[in-house]
Amino acid sequence: MHELSLIANLFEIMEQKAKEKNSKKITYVKLQVGVLSGAVPELLETAFNIYKKETLASEADLEIEKVPLKLKCKDCGALTIKDDLVLNCSSCGSTNLETLEGTDLYLEKMELEIEDS
């Protein structure tokens, strides 16, 4: 259960970005969670809802997009999206692969309330 420390990192980034934009309220947050990011979306959501109390994001909604594992074959160049955990090229079967997506955890975007100037 390292999701709480990931969410603590998320709030550091969120609060810094909100400050840069002179916003005191975050209303929406979207995360991209790779299938091999090592984090469980449901646990991230639970941790987010615990952590958000008494922060700028106390009323924020969280959306999580699950990102599948996307591989590029270094031999034939084909792109493979994997939903099982057998890492080989769907086109030529090679295991000489580059991972393009699906292993990371990103704060994609958020929505802020900004005072009219």
């Binding site: 390292h2 934009k21 955890l105 975007k109």
Partner: protein, 223 residues
């Protein structure tokens, strides 16, 4: 009051990755190979380190960073072998992170060959945290069962070497080594597999050769 959407695209582990990158760079420049050992509790990480201390020294100089939730027990076992060891007690956290490793960094002797980092026993959380190692090794012991690689894929996906440990128990338990290796390779085709026993010494030489080869490679790259 108006609402504004802001694109961020920032990695939640970005700050950890940055610290880990600095650690890796500094260790590589000093010619020190850092090895992050990952496994569930009781897979034999500390026993492997005790065994390695007998084989690697005095030819090579090694030290160990021990990660546990509580107690100095593992560091004491390593020190009893005459090896310098630092205990990091995470105080409840289920993994080491790069910042924790950074705290003992200034005490690491510059004439080391190998710096082993024994992570908190846990096959899940430690896999997400780069500690600045050059090699990551995941241990899977015979009593745990051969079906673990696909149940805990991240640890196997992010490792360089698979160590099937406690092979001295193979005749006492149903464990299909071929299945464990194949499932690990499915998740990570680049994994190098070793079968070892810290009790009878099986496979220790092969693993030491692998460590020395990687040490030499790191030093050539930084020469």
């Amino acid at each position: 009051m108006k609402k504004k959407e802001v694109m961020v695209l920032e990695d939640l582990l970005g700050s950890n990755k940055k610290i880990a990158g600095d650690i890796r760079k500094k260790l590589s420049e000093k010619g020190i190979l850092a090895i992050n050992l990952l496994s569930s509790p009781g897979a034999g990480k500390t026993s492997l380190l005790e065994k390695l201390s007998e084989v690697l020294t005095p030819g090579y100089k090694m030290a160990v960073i021990e990660g546990d939730i509580e107690t100095e027990r593992d560091a004491e076992r390593i020190r009893a072998k005459g090896i310098q060891a630092w205990q990091i007690s995470t105080g409840g956290a289920c993994h080491l992170d790069a910042k924790m490793v950074g705290k003992v960094f200034s005490e690491i002797p510059t004439d080391l060959d190998f710096l082993f980092i024994e992570n908190v026993g846990n096959l899940v959380c430690p896999a997400s945290f780069d500690l600045g190692e050059s090699l990551r090794c995941v241990l899977l012991s015979i009593p745990e069962g051969d079906d673990k690689p696909k149940k805990y894929p991240k640890a196997f996906f992010t490792s360089d070497a698979l160590i099937i440990s406690k092979t001295d128990l193979l005749d006492k338990m149903p464990f299909n080594v071929n299945r464990a290796v194949q499932e690990s390779l499915d998740v990570n085709p680049k994994l190098k597999a070793f079968k070892i026993s810290s009790v009878d010494g099986t496979g220790i030489k092969e693993f030491v050769d692998y460590l020395v080869k990687n040490l030499n490679k790191l030093r050539r790259a930084n020469a």
